[in-house]
């Protein structure tokens, strides 16, 4: 069978300063629309096999179904007729595999890693579950309780509550209004959503919505042959999700989160910003470390000199994502040493942003940040699993493999003027939402 429709060799390992993905990559799209990307790398005897599905909490457009994409990720481990859940788990064990998955706003990603002798069976298992997933209602309801357990685990940390509050307040219509795990009321109702889950699978788990990444030590011809055979019968088209467009924010917003014990004082501040693939998204990748990174004046002032802040967390920093599929938020979270220090911290950040908007840009720092990001990436892609994770997250928002090249080029091209105009245009009070943690201890 000649399944090859398009085949391209992306020479991303060129020596260009801006381009830093260090491995050769080949892509082929099957007639069904399923894309297969192979990335050989030095990892003797070991491989990673990633499946990117471009579905995430962004797709949860129907009321009452927040958290469903993530829940569905769990259900993908509940088996098929050919490989029921117990058999799937047993095979994973017998093949010596590391198996896991994760879900975020725009993507759900599944992976296996292990000895390359297992690769043909991994392809067989994955092809089977993506085409023929089948689980009983009881298994579905049991898994819903495990998701509640995951929610409970995460929400012992006030940072999760703050993120939930920020998104809820900053967004009015778009599905980025909720976190990926979903709101508790919906998580509690998940056991009742069996029929919806079948529909969810049909709507989004389709070949033209998926990309396979095979990374590490493997025989490309053999792998492609097995993939064509195992996924050959997979058909259908993913439905686009009718995600509402977020109206522009015109007034500053705020919220507070109550916490019953003396947690670390913190504030989370976000501004609406453009989507991945735009030059503005590349600017915000650079802006986070420029404003809040360890070499930044704010870090020096607030963490080291005045010692008001213990740490900063910033959007898209230590995050492979080049941005989101739709416009979302640039944010920072400051964890202060003492609750009374928060206003001074926010004022200092406002001053730094105002200076930026005024055209006061430290060109040396900007250049240092770009160098940092390039070196950071080059030294981080050590294992097939890490490379798979990176590729999945970079490709997910736009669906375009070229996003990888483009992001590096765009980041390299961020000028002082671009930083300044980003601050003027987006980091303005009317686009801003502020969430503060309030300690309310019970007497």
């Amino acid at each position: 069978m000649r399944a090859l429709i398009t085949s391209s060799i992306l020479l991303l390992a060129s020596a260009a300063q801006a381009t830093t993905f260090p491995f050769p990559m080949q892509s082929e799209t099957l007639p069904s629309g399923l894309r297969v990307v192979t990335v050989p790398m030095d990892s003797p005897g070991l491989f990673a096999y990633f499946t990117l599905v471009r579905v995430g909490s962004r797709n949860e457009v129907e009321p009452g179904h927040t958290g469903f994409a993530h829940f569905f990720e769990h259900m993908m481990f509940r088996g098929t007729e050919r490989f029921p859940a117990e058999r799937q788990a047993q095979l994973t064990r017998d093949l010596g595999l590391h198996s896991n998955a994760f879900t975020w706003d725009d993507e759900t990603v599944y992976f296996y890693a292990g000895p390359k002798t297992a690769l043909p069976q991994v392809i067989e298992m994955e092809a089977d579950r993506f085409q023929h997933l089948k689980y009983a209602k009881e298994a579905f309801q049991t898994e819903a309780k495990a998701v509640l357990g995951e929610y409970n685990k995460d929400f012992a940390d006030p940072a999760m509550k703050m993120e939930e509050a920020l998104l809820d307040r900053a967004f009015v219509r778009h599905t980025y209004k909720h976190t990926t795990i979903g709101v508790l009321a919906d998580v509690l109702k998940m056991p009742e959503q069996y029929d919806y889950s079948l529909q969810f699978f049909r709507r989004f788990y389709r070949p033209d919505n998926c990309t396979l990444f095979v990374i590490g030590d493997f025989d490309r011809a053999a792998v492609l042959k097995t993939i064509r055979a195992e996924y050959g019968a997979w058909r259908g088209h993913a439905e686009p999700a009718a995600v509402p467009i977020e109206p522009p924010q015109t007034q500053e917003r705020s919220a507070t989160v109550d916490w019953p014990s003396q947690a670390k004082p913190r504030v989370l501040v976000g501004w609406h910003t453009p989507e991945a693939g735009t030059q503005a998204a590349a600017v915000q990748k650079v802006l986070g470390p420029y404003l809040f990174g360890e070499a930044s004046p704010l870090y020096r002032e607030l963490v080291l000199e005045r010692q008001l802040v213990e740490s900063f967390e910033v959007a898209y920093l230590d995050d492979d994502r080049p941005g989101h599929r739709d416009p979302r938020l640039f944010y920072y979270q400051a964890t202060a040493k003492r609750p009374n220090d928060l206003p001074a911290v926010m004022a200092a950040v406002d001053r730094a942003i105002a200076a930026l908007a005024n055209g006061q840009v430290n060109a040396q720092l900007l250049s240092d940040v770009k160098r940092h990001l390039r070196y950071g990436l080059l030294t981080s892609l050590e294992t097939p699993t890490r490379v798979g994770e990176f590729l999945s997250l970079v490709v997910a928002p736009t669906g375009d493999l070229g996003a990888l090249d483009r992001l590096f080029d765009q980041m390299a091209g961020v000028t002082p003027a671009a930083l300044s105009s980003f601050a003027q245009q987006y980091l303005v009070p009317t686009h801003r939402t502020t969430v503060t943690l309030m300690v309310k201890e019970k007497k």
Partner: protein, 492 residues
């Protein structure tokens, strides 16, 4: 693909007493150079009343600047290189790690050596980091991470009045008692050549080992560490309930034991613990019975050694070796209504493991699992170095390879004999972080059944097993159970 085009050589020069051992794993094609400078020192070296001293000392060295550069100036130099300088303090090992692109190694190495040999001892940085440490206890561990709190409380239960028992970050009183002079003296005593193991890996130049060795001669000579004694553990409560406003209940349990990697039973127990509760995989019994079949929580695992997850991955973090180990079970947070059932389910599974052992299928399947999965343990230079350094610390050269090879010869009978010999459920100590603790005390002491209600039908076999679990005996008297408010923990 061609096989790996470089050689791994393990050069260990421990024979020369004056020379610290060096682990060198060259990989000329790798873009980064990875350094691990390890001292046989940790929170076990905190003097009584000065809990947190070792961690603060190490943090101040790693973050507080050098004689040549203030903390801020050091960031200015290292940041553009994306160079990492980090420190991880454990009970008996402290790791200063460095990582940089090989093109910048020559710039990085002198700065990294200065961190180790010429720290700035800046009073302002001392105050900053000591504040952070106290906040970590008071405003984080007590309030914002119930799973970590459960584990910290279990440490305290297993090792009362022993430096294994307090949080590595310290106690509130201990941190407040510290002075900059204490920190300097602790550095001179602990971070010395007599306790040093040097690790370097990746794409470093030929001259790097000699330069590194020469640079580290500036460390104080110091004295070899004393043996870590573990006096008999006094009887404390069998169950310690931490009262806290919490939506879910976190449970950790375990007991101390003298299992070491040198023990002939180690491979059998390695297999047994993987089959019983492999960390964050679906292969273990606990995960299968508690989460997969019953939906009690997000995960349930068991460990034969002190375990810390390595960053976001699922593999064990290397270089947390210690002289005395413990067995533990970790139940991720459960709904308060099911807390007693979940606890009983874990005890029931432990009891069953000891009495009935693993099946042939479990043993053979787990052998295959570990043969593949454990190959992923050493995929990065950092982890390869970590394993080689642990081997030096433990006196177990080639430990992982030997374990992998030992798997093939293990029989079900050997594995089950090791389980029976080592696991004594009666010795378990249990830490529970929960709200409505007083009610739990009463339930535990009464021994009354704790039935579970599911939102969905369950197979008959599970429902029948549940009837055994809900009545599983808890041999506890009221005096075996103590309750403490989270706010009172880790004061001293």
């Amino acid at each position: 693909m061609r096989p790996r085009p470089f050689l791994i050589t393990l050069a260990v020069s421990a024979a020369v007493a004056a020379q610290p051992p060096i682990v060198a794993l060259p990989a000329p094609t790798h873009p980064a150079v990875t350094l691990r400078i390890v001292f046989r020192a940790g929170s076990v070296d905190d003097p009584p009343g000065k809990e947190g001293l070792t961690a603060l000392t190490a943090e101040l060295m790693a973050e507080g600047g050098t004689v040549r550069r203030s903390a801020a100036e050091l960031h200015q130099v290292l940041y553009p290189l994306a160079a990492e300088v980090d420190v991880a303090v454990d009970r008996e090992m402290t790791v200063f790690s460095g990582r940089v692109h090989r093109d910048e190694f020559a710039t990085f190495l002198p700065e990294f050596l200065d961190v180790l040999t010429r720290p700035r001892w800046d009073p302002k940085e001392f105050a900053r980091l000591r504040d952070d440490a106290e906040n970590e206890l008071v405003r984080q561990l007590r309030t914002s991470d119930d799973e970590a709190l459960g584990k910290a409380v279990l440490d305290r239960m297993l090792y009362p009045h022993h430096p294994y028992g307090h949080p590595i970050v310290g106690t509130v009183a201990g941190l407040r008692a510290l002075t900059l002079d204490d920190v300097k003296a602790q550095a001179a005593r602990l971070f010395c050549r007599a306790r040093l193991i040097v690790g370097i890996a990746g794409g470093y130049p030929d001259s790097a080992v000699a330069t590194l060795e020469a640079g580290l001669t500036a460390l104080p000579p110091g004295a070899a560490r004393p043996e870590v004694a573990l006096p008999p553990v006094p009887d404390g409560p069998k169950v310690l309930i931490v009262e806290k406003e919490a939506e879910a209940t976190a449970v950790s349990m375990g007991f101390s034991w003298e299992l070491s990697r040198r023990d002939p039973d180690f491979p059998a127990l390695w297999l047994a613990f993987s089959a019983f509760g492999e960390h964050r995989q679906f292969t273990g019994r606990l995960m299968n019975r508690l989460r997969e079949q019953r939906g009690l929580n997000y995960g349930d695992y068991a460990y034969l050694e002190s375990f810390v997850q390595d960053h976001w991955g699922t593999f064990p973090r290397p270089n947390i070796a210690r002289s005395h180990q413990f067995f533990s079970i970790w139940l991720r947070p459960v709904e308060p209504a099911n807390r007693l059932f979940a606890l009983r389910a874990a005890l029931y599974e432990t009891d069953k493991l000891v009495k009935q052992g693993l099946t042939d299928d479990e043993v053979e399947g787990t052998k295959r699992f570990l043969a593949g999965y454990s190959q992923l343990y050493t995929q990065t230079d950092r982890r390869r170095l970590g394993y080689a350094i642990d081997d030096l610390f433990n006196g177990t050269p080639g430990h992982l390879a030997k374990l992998q090879s030992a798997l093939t010869h293990l029989t079900t009978a050997q594995v089950n004999a090791a389980i029976r010999k080592w696991i004594t459920p009666q010795r378990l100590r249990i830490a529970i972080v929960t709200k409505n603790g007083a009610e739990l005390v009463r339930e535990l002491a009464s021994g009354e059944p704790s039935p579970i209600h599911y939102p969905s039908p369950k197979p008959q076999a599970i429902l029948e097993e549940d009837r055994t679990i809900e009545r599983f005996p808890l041999p506890l008297k009221a005096t075996d159970i103590e309750i403490v408010s989270a706010k009172q923990l880790f004061e001293k």
